[in-house]
Symmetry: C2
Subunit: 558 residues, 2 copies
Amino acid sequence: MSTQENTLSVFALGGLHEIGKNMYAIEYGNDIIIIDCGNKFPDESLLGVDLIIPDIAYLEENKDKVKALIVTHGHEDHIGGIPFLLKKLNVPVYATRFTLGLIELKLKEHKILRESELVEINPHSTLEFEKINVSFFKVNHSIPDCLGIVFHTPEGNIVHTGDFKFDLTPEHNEHSDIHRMSDIGKEGVLLLLSESTNAERPGLTPSEQMVGDHVEAACRKAKRKVVFSTFASNISRVQQIVNAAHKTNRKLALLGRSMLNVVGVAMERDYLDVPDGMLIDQTEIDDFPPEQVAILCTGSQGEQMAALSRLSTGNFRGVNILPGDTVIFAAGPIPGNERNITSIVDNFFGLGAKVIYGSGSTSGMHVSGHGYQEDLKLMLTLMKPKYFIPIHGELRMLHHHRMLAESVGVEEGNTFIMNNGDVLDIEQSIARQTRRIPTGNTYVEGGVGGSVGDFVLQDRKQLSEDGMLIIVLTMNKTEGKLLSDPETISRGLVDRAYDFTDFRKDVNRLTKKTVNELQEANRTSRNVMKKELKKAIQQYVFRQTKKKPMIVPIVIEI
Amino acid sequence: MSTQENTLSVFALGGLHEIGKNMYAIEYGNDIIIIDCGNKFPDESLLGVDLIIPDIAYLEENKDKVKALIVTHGHEDHIGGIPFLLKKLNVPVYATRFTLGLIELKLKEHKILRESELVEINPHSTLEFEKINVSFFKVNHSIPDCLGIVFHTPEGNIVHTGDFKFDLTPEHNEHSDIHRMSDIGKEGVLLLLSESTNAERPGLTPSEQMVGDHVEAACRKAKRKVVFSTFASNISRVQQIVNAAHKTNRKLALLGRSMLNVVGVAMERDYLDVPDGMLIDQTEIDDFPPEQVAILCTGSQGEQMAALSRLSTGNFRGVNILPGDTVIFAAGPIPGNERNITSIVDNFFGLGAKVIYGSGSTSGMHVSGHGYQEDLKLMLTLMKPKYFIPIHGELRMLHHHRMLAESVGVEEGNTFIMNNGDVLDIEQSIARQTRRIPTGNTYVEGGVGGSVGDFVLQDRKQLSEDGMLIIVLTMNKTEGKLLSDPETISRGLVDRAYDFTDFRKDVNRLTKKTVNELQEANRTSRNVMKKELKKAIQQYVFRQTKKKPMIVPIVIEI
């Protein structure tokens, strides 16, 4: 299933039909170049799972071909899988200065920073591999130092946009390089891969500047301390909060490990300007009058262990939210997090705080980092690609993006709505999508050797809804006779107190009856016994409780 | 803790700090009048629970005082708990004709229709109890035949709004009776209880008429069949879909049990006009050209077993969605359901359908049935209450509603933000909130005698995240010696295949070691043994896997 010598192949190991775990690859001859290696957070159905990363079996099989991992920017859904990748593949990582800072934090945590090969690039860098050359262009997004990538191949140029929007008045000179994009388009683009996150939203993304005005107004209006929460990596947002706090004569305290880490990287590497003496430690908050304090913390998505959530329940040692304080969510809710966020909002209301929350369009405290429909159309117009793969989105977003592409001139039939693992092969400028490589989700949790499988998750699902019922039989090994009464134990099924005695008696009676019948029929092997017991008890329990607990018969032979 | 003879008491058994399971009560002398008895659907944290209803212990203790259940309207969060209540308390139920129709469906399902006492009322009815008289006023909401209630008590009048908005151009003459409300306000309102669902949203709720125009336009534009999904009980919405389908010359097929049931009730009782010969059976859909067919089905909230979800995965027998069909979500997403809904949207895109979805304000296919801020202010202005309890909402909504009340003249300090179980006592026109009655959630599932407790849910949570580890020891009863090797079984913890053998060996070794140590120390009682084993194994497993499975040591003595 490997590619032909002169075929240019493009595929995703993550990022299609989903928001998260972005990982794309370009393969030609002896080169495989990877773009990004992100993670994704599980939804509630993946019980106990901490993290999802792409399955990289295909790359492990083609180890020698993998020449580089190029990272477009430092968000978790683009870098979160890197430590797991590097533990399996020794590949150099190319990224810009700020992105590298965040990758280094991760590698340090996993204790593999020293052996990793990290190469700093900038928008003017070029890279050369066997038959693929690579150049870059600067894009604007909600984190500093973002790249789009151009792959110059014998078949033609492939452009990967990274995550982007067009903000004409960004913070900190984070301008999109529209002139370079225009040149790339003029040179000719065979295939464009462009992100689709906001393909459903009409219009043009508002500028980050809008948020700055609202943040400052809120600081002025607040009569006591102001708490902001946003993503630590959104340095433009952090800069605006710093500016507003400074202008309104407030000290700033940072709460939350990732806020301290990321702001540290940003200050060290000159992506953030903080006036001298403005930052204070959390222990110093009470040394200043409340109207001279601002707090910036993590947890805008309602994460239970993060600073904001702990502040809302009065569980952040040494820092209290009091009546008249203002709490501002300076980040939009990521779909799926709404309930956790609103429960924190409720808590703050309960403490008497003023709370500014909701989507950016209602609160004014957030703008998206992902381009809306007009941004996406502008990118498509600049690039004028022959072929198009919408990436970085759920299925409906990919379809919306396809329609946008067709509206600005991409020929019908030239857009490929692909799945992770689908391969687009290009030969003599003709693209065909006919084959797949193996791919999927790798579930990471705690310390379990890195991953758990589907069986474990199925078990957990059954246990979680209907609990379990254990029946222990002790039998004479030679005669197959019961040595004592069966032992019945249930967890998560019915209340331990109420009427479990009768229930247990019934199960024991049924167990003995089943064992007797099997003995009379001379069917006393452990496996037969377990299977028949399971069946009989399952039926009884379902009739009684309408539940289907996991039945675990244990036969001890002595 | 019962009330004084001349105290008027008001409390909620459900509906405060939550959207769902509404149940409020007025108590004076020997009368307790209940308002509504709803249910709520559990979020993902309540593993395996099907339904939540209010804990009615207080009412059971005061059985003889409970004179009536008055139901404001027929939504699940106002009637879903009635069968469970009637099984415990024999109390007459007062409701309007359409509401009674829906309650009857429920009581039939629970097989208690015959013994229940149902009394039909209308907005002009009056009821008399020992010292409380009751009258009503018509309100507009997203279901027919809704009531607000006035309680005339010796202390003064209490008004409960039910769920409402002010729609000046409603379907089917479902006008709010503003003139009657104005008279009630002029007569004087001691205490208002008003719903808070949309207290966060500025402006006035748009009229249902807006949806009608969009529905018709979509039917005209569609070149093949159109599938609408909405709440069955939103008869105004159903009427508009019927009208649009009729005008565009389409037959209409209904899919989903509750759609068939509720539309049946509505047609029977003249709340819905469907032209003769327009309804077709689902088996007849293919007898008509696709441009002459519309389908109306349940499942707009992404419910997995409902018609819409099954259509989206090609699992609805006999009905197929084909490229060019149009699917329209004619209902807004209830917070928490977004993910399930978008995955259905994705499926329909995958089938090649055109999909119209999203919030009503973007799609035009939905307006809320709950009043926005200006609606709420209008109600407060009409009623001019002395005291105010915002009800039917999460905490932040109650606080927003308080601010709205203060903005239209309710005195600061006269609004009570209460919890379920908090009691507002009014004596000689002075309101005080000082005491509580017992209350809480009752979890209903499958057939388990009606309810499960917190222990069971805690067990399920642990099982769901970290699985379990069972260790069976068979011991000699007299000497306390092991009769065979320990048996170790795990589910939902680590992959059964990979490296479980070593893991099991280690656990067995540790078990034997622990047992030996205990024997040497002469500590061989079953309980000590179980406790010590649990501790030792828990530590080992956590070191190895970073997981905390439920450890179940079972000691069999022979």
